[in-house]
């Protein structure tokens, strides 16, 4: 009974219920939405956001935020695509190393600026959001890298499937989610990220190296944004200095806060974020089916972020109220 209650009260259950209700509602209006084919469409909308969201989750849990991931994605993707363009002899899979490495470097810069000068990460990454985008234009001479330069094997990651007709990149995203789950829940350093976000002032007293952890989460976020960069090239077959990664940060932050990650740090689960990404995917897939113009999308994201904030707040307040009641009883 109690176990059931605690499952029902979990944030993840709430999102799962929202997904089910949403799918049923759309399904009633458009039965086609319930087909396997639509499941595939929804899944194909998610891998990039999923990977970005895993990094962002860790950053938010550590009580920071990374607004630069869209530009990081673009820069890493551009470096990789240009490598393919000018050095077609390089094996395609090395692109992953390059893209992740470049992303890691940019993330490290974010972390270093934040820790070194004790600056709010939101302003730092607002700055690097522009800086990295500008650098993307500069290295590419403001030119798109076209389809013909992206190795076919890389593009095939998005089209060919090991099993069940589900493309490789979806498995990669799931793999990243599982790795993040392992990292966040089963490693000492992962738990230290949660401890740091939960009580930054007390963290050093427990031997947590605050600067090192902060650097690490930003580096991970950058590296995953880098990974999402080469996956962008795989999924869409081109890299554009202006379009690639534009608005990515808003999609990711929306998914992460829907997924129950608290902007006050310390709280968040991979399962919640995965569900948050799925819900966002469902919404994106349902809009064209329902004939809602794409112009509504941005307003929906904004509203979703605010609603998620309000839910987060009411959850927190219920906790405080319960505590007060407990003390009153004592």
């Amino acid at each position: 009974m109690n176990a059931l209650r605690s499952i029902l009260l979990r944030r993840e259950t709430g999102i799962a219920v929202m997904i089910v209700l949403f799918v049923i509602a759309v399904g009633i209006a458009k039965p086609r939405f319930l087909s396997l084919e639509y499941l595939r469409i929804i899944l194909l909308l998610t891998p990039l956001i999923m990977i970005g969201a895993m990094g962002q989750m860790l950053v938010l849990v550590a009580r920071h935020v990374d607004l630069s991931i869209g530009s990081t994605q673009a820069f890493a993707a551009m470096v990789t695509a240009m490598m393919f363009k000018f050095h077609p002899e390089i094996p395609w899979y090395l692109g992953f190393l390059v893209s992740i490495g470049v992303g890691l470097g940019l993330g490290f810069v974010n972390g270093a600026l934040t820790t070194l000068f004790r600056l709010p990460s939101i302003i730092v990454t607002l700055g690097t959001l522009n800086l990295y985008r500008g650098l993307t234009f500069i290295i590419s001479d403001a030119r798109q890298v076209d389809r013909q330069y992206i190795p076919s094997a890389l593009k095939a990651m998005s089209t060919t499937s090991p099993i069940l007709g589900i493309p490789w990149i979806i498995f990669m995203a799931l793999g990243v989610a599982l790795l993040t789950y392992w990292f966040a829940s089963h490693t000492r350093v992962g738990r230290q990220v949660f401890a740091l976000g939960s009580n930054p002032a007390a963290a050093p007293l427990r031997g947590i190296r605050v600067n090192a952890i902060t650097l690490m989460v930003f580096s991970i976020s950058g590296a995953l944004a880098g990974l999402s960069g080469i996956m962008y090239a795989s999924r869409w077959g081109f890299v554009n200095p202006s379009n690639t990664g534009a608005g990515f940060e808003f999609q990711v932050i929306a998914a992460v806060v829907i997924g129950g990650v608290s902007i006050n740090g310390g709280v968040g689960s991979v399962l919640g974020v995965v569900l948050g990404v799925l819900l966002l995917g469902c919404v994106s897939a349902a809009l064209p089916l329902l004939g809602i113009p794409g112009t509504a999308q941005s307003a929906i994201y904004g509203a979703v972020i605010i609603v998620a904030l309000l839910i987060d707040r009411s959850v927190r307040q219920r906790g405080i109220a319960a505590l007060a009641a407990q003390r009153a009883r004592a």
Binding site: I41, F137, Q144, R147, W236, S284, A285, L287, P288, T295
Partner: protein, 335 residues
Amino acid sequence: MLKRHLLAGLAALGLAATFATGALAAHDFKVVYIGKNTGNPYFDSINGGFVDACKQIGCQYEFVAPATAEATSQIPIIEAQIQRGVNVIAIAPNSPDAMNQVLDEARAKGILVLAVNGDLVGNESHRDANILPVDFTKTGPNQVELMGSLIGYKGDIAILSATTEAPDQNTWIAAMKKTLAEDPKYKDMKLVATVYGDDQPEKSTTEMEALLSNYPDLVGVIAPTTVGVAAAAQVVQQRGIADKVHVTGLGLPSEMRDFIKDGTVKAFQLWSPYNEGWLAAYFADGVLNGTIKNEVGTKFDVPNLGSITIGDKNVMNTQAELTTFNADNIDQFNF
């Protein structure tokens, strides 16, 4: 029409012509082309036309573009050009009306203002002339004919467009509908849906997926926008249904080459952006030197393009009909 490789040969002719026409002429005027935004591959090609033409003419040319294609981002650039004292501003406007004031200011300073590859629809009085690649009234019928030829003039088709209010696309779509309805040749073709991908790859892909699943009998999709046609082709390629669903539309050869080569797309159309730049430069040279009168009905010759007529509202086109790209000719084009 797109014989860039012949240019070298024609260069001498062009030079000779200009020397012959005016001993007084000053050909070293300054021209700047303001694109919609940087990183847009389409404008690389227009830019190429300007560069080559200015090499021939002797004018000084520069290309600038804002980072984003929002309505106001070109304004500071125009202001800067006025201050720099350029003689010609050619622009692909991001807004049909937000730049009226600043363009008027430029014209008041004696700068020739040309809209290139897009017009100030409804605000034509704020520019001197407009250069469009083709007569846009022919785009719709051309596209319908190409689609028909691919599907044997029979079956359900759909349109995947840019944004709901994109003016050019809407003109073409209206013409397509009219053609389908009025020409008996197309009586067996049925337009079942028009959807909008907002010129974003993600959104266009989702819309294309929705189309295929909503209309299982679909045999063709026309996407009169470069982003849309690439996205639609990619969906068809992924699903391996190229023999069942034919994708065509307006695309860039550089973006579509792979799809043509692997047979996903049999043919698509476009014009030559390169020639737009070429024509704009020659037109500007002629107007500034008094050899071309910027009036409706004026005819003048441009190297490589032949005779050009200034049409209604001072609009001129580089070519009459759309160019069709297919496996036979795609390798001749590198834009």
